[in-house]
């Protein structure tokens, strides 16, 4: 690393909203956007303008979501590290188009969002949000921000974590650490405490649910267990209402309200109703159907609660599993910290209070706490915060596909990270120089029910009779929860190279290309801007010169005057034709030099006139 003093920011890259924070001597604080100190939340919404090619991120994009549902991307986090196959059910709910990205290798399945004629992978889209946060942070700190801690749901698998890191790279950010969201929240809360405590963090965001149980002692934040659901969040509460509206409108009016534009409107409406029902016992709904008809409905809180209760029970069941995995009894948990906007729903607070037998803790705004914690982790990494250290666990078991299609577990869920496991492999044919391993994550017995991280091909095994090579493969999960695989053939002592074909993610080369693309675009954008500036200057200079020629040209020797006019037309032409701002500028300066005699005459003449 070249610049050790470069600031590290903390980023909460959320399904619905994203935030960036920075910790200085005074502690962590959120970095605000252009609209002022209150403007700390950047909606994770990206809007594309197909005519001008512009991309907007945040509030503006969200405002246009209803008018332009097909070119507005929200909830991209739900697509991170996922295949098109995973998203078939989900993509029906999304107003934008999701397709399978073209890949050379058949087994790979990378989902892409289609905007106009272009395909965008989820990391590319997330990178647009990150780039906006990076811009804000750079503006705020007055120094280029190139390093970040980014948070992810604790339950994200390796592919989803890699996708997040890739998004950072594409946005020009070195992701120095990936931290689990509930763990980050615990850091934000535990900052001023020297206490010893066991806490649970209940984190229900827009699209994901996490429960983590931590032990805090002596500045060590030790995660004991984690559980959750990467596809359960406040968005699902909205969908309960949306499905109800669609069903009832169809029944009453025989109208199908599932076009992208209406769906987007329903989303906004459902969210409003949900928020209102957190404070009121009922909420009025009105949806205009065609020119005359109006769908009117009162939603009572208990009715809404009936709809979302099965979802909440799923979170409570996960809490039970987490407590069991942590070997902690409920009465040993000192505090339950609530994180995520969805925890404002009263029924959730009530059920969590019942399950843990203590009142939920909500001192820090549940929308802000994760970003604040990410900034605390950033300050730990920069060496500014020495008293604290984080010890996390891996959320999912890691294994390999064994003969017969079973999942052979190598590292169980909920063990401390970094951690590693080794396994020996051999060859089945004489002279075989490569071995393929299907690496899996998940808790199910069969490989097909687990998540494939990719096929790892061990290459460069010295040719030997079948069964003789002893290839020792080491699986290392690092502090970010990301897997690294290395292999050694022990008889020869040679390192085997490990080639990875990710099942759902991008390859290193693909990320590199996207990264270069993004940099090239930035340069293109800049040179486009530069070109416009230079052309404006040329126009200004040409107008000035042609005015002087008209007024005082007759005072020049005849040849010189024609020559200057010729050169003026030449520059005018070049400025129109050329795309090279440097060439145009050079020609402009040369021309200006030629106009000096005329300018001198003009000065003299104007003095005579006065």
């Amino acid at each position: 690393m070249t610049d050790n003093d470069a600031p590290i920011v903390g980023i909460d890259l959320g399904t619905t909203n994203s935030l960036v924070a920075y910790a200085d001597e005074a502690g962590p604080h959120l970095i605000h956007g252009p609209a002022g100190a209150e403007d700390v939340i950047l909606p994770s919404v990206i809007g594309f303008d197909l005519s001008g090619g512009d991309v907007t991120v945040g509030h503006t994009a969200r405002l246009h979501a209803v008018e332009k549902p097909e070119t507005t991307v929200h909830s991209i986090k739900r697509l991170m590290g996922r295949g098109f196959g995973d998203l078939r059910a989900e993509s029906k709910r999304l107003p934008y188009r999701v397709l399978r990205r073209g890949c050379e290798i058949e087994e790979r399945d990378v989902a892409s969002v289609v905007i106009g004629e272009k395909f965008y992978t989820p990391p590319q889209l997330s990178a647009m949000i990150l780039a906006e946060l990076k811009r804000r942070a750079t503006g705020y700190l007055g120094r280029e921000v190139t390093k970040a801690v980014i948070t992810v749901p604790a339950h994200f698998d390796d592919t989803q974590r890699q996708a997040t890191r890739d998004a950072g790279l594409i946005a020009g950010l070195d992701v120095v650490r990936i931290v689990n969201e509930p763990t980050a929240a615990a850091l934000a809360y535990g900052l001023d405490r020297a206490e010893t405590a066991t806490i649970a963090v209940y984190d229900l965001g827009g699209g994901t649910f996490d429960i983590s149980i931590l032990r805090i002692e002596d500045g060590m934040f030790e995660v004991l267990s984690t559980d959750g659901d990467t596809h359960l969040g406040g968005d699902d509460f909205d969908h309960c209402l949306i499905d109800l509206f669609i069903r009832e409108v169809h029944k009453q009016f025989g109208v199908d309200i599932t076009t992208p534009t209406i769906k987007q409107q329903l989303r906004t409406l459902a969210e409003e109703i949900k928020v209102r029902l957190s404070n009121a016992d009922e909420a009025q709904v009105e949806i205009a159907i065609g020119p005359k008809d109006v769908y009117r409905r009162v939603i009572r809180r208990d009715e809404f609660e009936g709809m979302i209760e099965p979802l909440i029970e799923r979170t409570i069941a996960a809490c039970g599993r987490a407590a069991k995995a942590a070997r902690v009894r409920v009465d040993e948990i000192d505090r339950v910290v609530m994180v995520g906007g969805s925890t404002r729903v009263p029924l959730i607070r009530q059920r969590v209070a019942e399950a843990f037998a203590c009142a939920p803790y909500t001192a820090i705004n549940p929308d802000h706490v994760v970003a604040m914690g990410a900034a605390v982790q950033a300050s730990i990494l920069s060496g500014a915060q020495r008293g604290m250290l984080l010890f996390d666990v891996t959320p999912l078991s890691l294994g390999i596909e064994t003969m017969g299609g079973a999942m052979g577990k190598l590292i169980p869920a909920n063990v401390r990270i970094p951690c590693k496991a080794t396994e020996n492999f051999t060859t089945f044919q004489d002279g075989q120089t490569a071995v393929k391993i299907n690496v899996l994550q998940g808790e199910r017995e069969m490989a097909k029910d687990c998540r494939s991280l990719g096929v790892f091909e061990l290459r460069g095994i010295p040719p030997m009779p079948a069964g003789l090579p002893k290839i020792k493969v080491t699986f290392l999960i690092d502090q970010n929860g990301i897997l690294d695989v290395t292999a050694v053939e022990e008889r020869s002592g040679k390192n085997a190279s490990v080639q990875i074909v990710p099942s759902y993610g991008l390859t290193r080369d693909e990320v590199k290309h996207l990264q270069e693309d993004a940099i090239a675009h930035a340069r293109e954008d800049m040179s486009a801007h530069h070109l416009a500036d230079v052309r404006t200057t040329v126009e200004f200079d040409l107008n000035k010169a042609s005015g002087m020629i008209q007024k005082y040209g007759h005072l020049l020797p005849a040849g010189q005057r024609d020559e200057l006019t010729r050169q003026l037309n030449e520059l005018k032409e070049l400025s129109k034709i050329s795309d090279d701002p440097h060439a145009i500028n050079k020609a402009r300066m040369k021309f200006n030099h030629k106009t000096v005699p005329l300018a001198e005459i003009a000065v003299k003449e104007s003095l005579k006139d006065s």
Binding site: V176, R314, L381, S382, I417, P418, C419, D478, Q479
Partner: protein, 188 residues
Amino acid sequence: MFPLPQDVDYFQLLGLDRRFDLDEKALTSSFRAVVRKVHPDRFCDQPEEVRNLATKLSADLNNAITTLKDPARRAAYLLHLAGGPCAKDERGVPDGVLMEVMELRERIEGANASGDLIALTGLRDEIAARREELLADMSKSADYLNEGSEKNRIALRLLINAVKYFDTLASEVATDPLMPASETDHDR
């Protein structure tokens, strides 16, 4: 920070004597002291090799504490170091344990089905007590491990296998108030 020699064992790594009986407090405090020093987050500004080394050392330490803290795993590790059979090679349990386990399982199923909390709590305590007895036998058996007889090594393996059975049984008793009786296996 230096790379560890290949053959360093978990006891050495944490500065402890290689034996079954150990002071859990000493184990924990020794682990905490070392793991703090090599935590990868303290080397963020260092060259990549140093950072990778910190990650690997931390992984070794974490594997060490996981292995040594749990008595059954600790015994299995000692057995491995002594060249004893692994679970794949020797699947047996001491005489009578299999019958005992089957009987207990029936009672657990009955209590789980009826949701009889008193019976479940009783079962939980009974299993825990039996597990403790097995661990005591394990401690005695591990003391003779280095005397070299294959019989000793097999005896220890059988005890380790038995403890695993009781751990499984314990996980089947649905007593946790946060824990629903039927654990649904939805997509996690």
